[in-house]
């Protein structure tokens, strides 16, 4: 565990649901990934995921909270003011899911936080598998990766405008009466 603190740009460690998340600074993500691959042995890049936390703390969560923690039957119908999700440091989180191919299959999530317009170093020199993963996140979330050899749209058409998976992008499709979709 103390090895994790030596990751370049280390900020904090979070443990939840049996998973370890290490938050690193955005500028040193490439060095952190190289360290994780070389020193800690996480040779397999499973995925790169970006999450948009726009309006995260805006909506409260009320009523029946699901099972494990957070169930508060003594305050029903509080209309969202009883439990607010904790605020996030920035708008986007970028998670790198890593796996070490050894006994016990240890997994690690390297996470960095960035705002709209910030760029991150591409980790294609560390894992070539990151090529399309990063292109997909650029296409759908609009996060630019510095040093990516071919940062172009992957899933949407080349001339598509906007980044569909962002929270301020509408769901699209045709309007349907009495639909719950926003």
């Amino acid at each position: 565990m103390t090895d994790l603190a030596k990751i370049p740009g280390y900020a904090e460690t979070k443990e939840a649901h049996g998973e370890t998340t290490v938050v690193v600074a955005r500028d040193s993500i490439r060095a952190a990934c190289a360290y994780a691959r070389d020193e800690l042995g996480y040779a397999f890049l499973a995925d790169i995921v970006a999450t948009d936390y726009l309006d995260w703390s805006g909506k409260g969560v009320s009523g029946y909270i699901g099972t494990a923690t957070g169930r508060d039957l003594n305050l029903p119908m509080t209309q969202g003011l009883q439990a607010l999700p904790e605020a996030k440091p920035a708008r986007f989180s970028l998670s790198y899911h890593l796996l070490a191919l050894r006994q016990g299959a240890p997994r690690l999530r390297l996470q960095c936080w960035l705002d709209d317009g910030d760029t991150v170093d591409s980790v294609v020199p560390v894992w070539p598998a990151a090529d399309w993963f990063e292109r997909e996140q650029y296409d759908l979330m609009g996060i630019r990766f510095d040093g990516h050899p071919n940062l172009a749209r992957l899933l949407m058409e080349d001339d598509w405008e906007g980044h569909p998976l962002r929270k301020d992008y509408p769901i699209g499709g045709e309007p349907v009466r009495f639909s719950a979709a926003e």
């Binding site: 191919l101 020199p125 040093g147």
Partner: protein, 434 residues
């Protein structure tokens, strides 16, 4: 930055078997997923650019390959995907947790129950639900049947593309039996939507076990049929041996998993190494081959089918002793009450109403769950804000990683070999594009 950051040498610690077929790495360095035509050849040679358009005779779905040919030799390759991008992830953010379970199945539409399983496992991990034993074993049984189904579709379509057309009908004959079993249990042939957060949607119907046993008794004979047709067929051997080489180092660098990784000599299977469901209680072998070519990927999948039959047999034996046990957890805040209770119990009625209309709420947090789908590591990353709908769902598609390896596998291949290579990577476009 074009050069790869070199390994310090201490990192090559993965369970490898055998010697690599080539030295160093053959990943095209500028862009890993593109094979560039050498500039000399482009100026002096006669390079023809051919478009394997999104609609093409081979049965992979809507994959577009832009191939540069020097005669019949492939000198340049790049893939264009996105023709089946469906926006699953955004759609799932609009639905409640329960309704969102219908979506993941359509992602990998050949190994559909694995995608469903991974999403349901993610919900259960965040809710910390305890799934009853019967549900775990039945999920394992259905996922292994689905693995056989997926490999049958792979075998039938790959052989069809290479000219062994009869294999298609042989494989689909067994596939129909598997789909009959799915229909018997769940009511649907494909996209069964049988897994629920907490267990299974319904109890296992009577009459399933004898039918499943009949299938399990027959399947090894069917596998013998396939081996008879293909395994010593000179044309098949010449078209698949030594084609599409991918060493273990390159495979791991490119994020390969599943049969492609195991055919490259890396002994890694999430069912055994990161056990989920009840895989530690069944006895099965993990086939690993060292040839790193199309033929070995075919052999890995054939052996995996035989091992899956063994697992299914063990699951049936175990499940038959669990008659009468619950098939879903009894946490009523998440699971619907049985219908009979709605007539008598007020609490049941209210819970039913709240769960169906508003949906159960999953505590805030993020999880990443990965399982071994027929294509490799299929993962699901879920972020919840504590509300009734997912905040972010992302699926790690093994097919996307597999297609990234096309350029590396396609060194010195003829155009006919390219078909074999793309078939052996077994990419499902729904999984790639999501």
């Amino acid at each position: 930055m074009s050069a790869t950051i070199q390994n310090t040498g201490r990192t090559r610690r993965w369970p490898i078997v055998g010697e690599p077929p080539y030295e160093g790495t053959r990943i095209p360095s500028r862009v890993p997923t593109v094979l560039d035509v050498p500039p000399v050849l482009r100026e002096t040679g006669d390079v023809l650019q051919v478009n394997f358009g999104p609609n093409h005779p081979s049965t992979h779905g809507v994959l577009r390959l832009i191939v540069d040919l020097d005669g019949e030799l492939v000198v340049g390759l790049s893939a264009v995907i996105g023709y089946l991008h469906t926006g699953f992830e955004k759609n799932m953010e609009q639905k409640t947790w329960w309704k969102a379970i219908t979506y993941p199945e359509r992602i990998d539409y050949v190994g559909y129950q694995n995608n469903e399983l991974v999403f349901v496992l993610a919900i259960e991990k965040m809710l910390q639900l305890e799934v009853p034993e019967k549900a775990t074993w039945m999920r394992m049984l259905l996922c292994e049947l689905n693995r056989i189904h997926s490999h049958l579709v792979y075998l039938g379509t790959s052989a069809l593309e290479l000219g062994a057309i009869s294999m298609f009908w042989y494989c689909f004959r067994e596939r129909e039996t598997i789909l009959d079993l799915f229909e018997l249990v769940t009511g649907q042939r494909m996209h069964t939507r049988y897994f629920q957060a907490g267990g299974l949607a319904e109890d296992i119907p009577t009459g399933f076990y004898p039918e499943a046993r009949k299938f399990v008794e027959w399947m090894p004979h069917a596998l013998d049929d396939y081996l008879t047709l293909l395994d010593r067929n000179q044309i098949w051997l010449e078209r698949t041996k030594g084609v599409g080489l991918l060493s273990a180092d390159d495979a791991i660098a490119l994020g390969q998993s599943g049969p492609v990784l195991r055919a490259s000599g890396v002994d890694w299977d999430l069912r055994r190494d990161q056990t989920y469901l009840a895989y530690d209680q069944v006895d099965f072998k993990v086939p690993v081959y060292t040839g790193c070519d199309v033929y070995d990927r075919y052999r890995v999948r054939m052996d995996e089918m035989a091992e899956s039959v063994k697992i299914v047999r063990q699951c049936i034996d175990r499940l038959e002793r669990m008659e009468g046990q619950p098939w879903i957890t009894d946490d009523r805040k998440v699971v619907l009450p049985p219908r009979e209770e709605l007539h008598t119990s007020m609490e049941s009625l209210i819970h039913h109403f709240k769960i169906v209309t508003e949906g159960y709420r999953v505590p805030a947090g993020e999880v990443y769950v990965a399982i071994e789908s027929p294509r490799g590591e299929c993962g699901c990353y879920v972020v919840s804000d504590g509300g009734p709908k997912p905040w972010r769902v992302h699926f790690r598609a093994p097919s996307l990683a597999a297609l990234q390896a096309t350029a590396t596998c396609a060194h010195n291949t003829l155009i006919a070999d390219l078909i074999a290579v793309v078939g052996s990577l077994d990419a499902v476009m729904g999984d790639t594009d999501r």
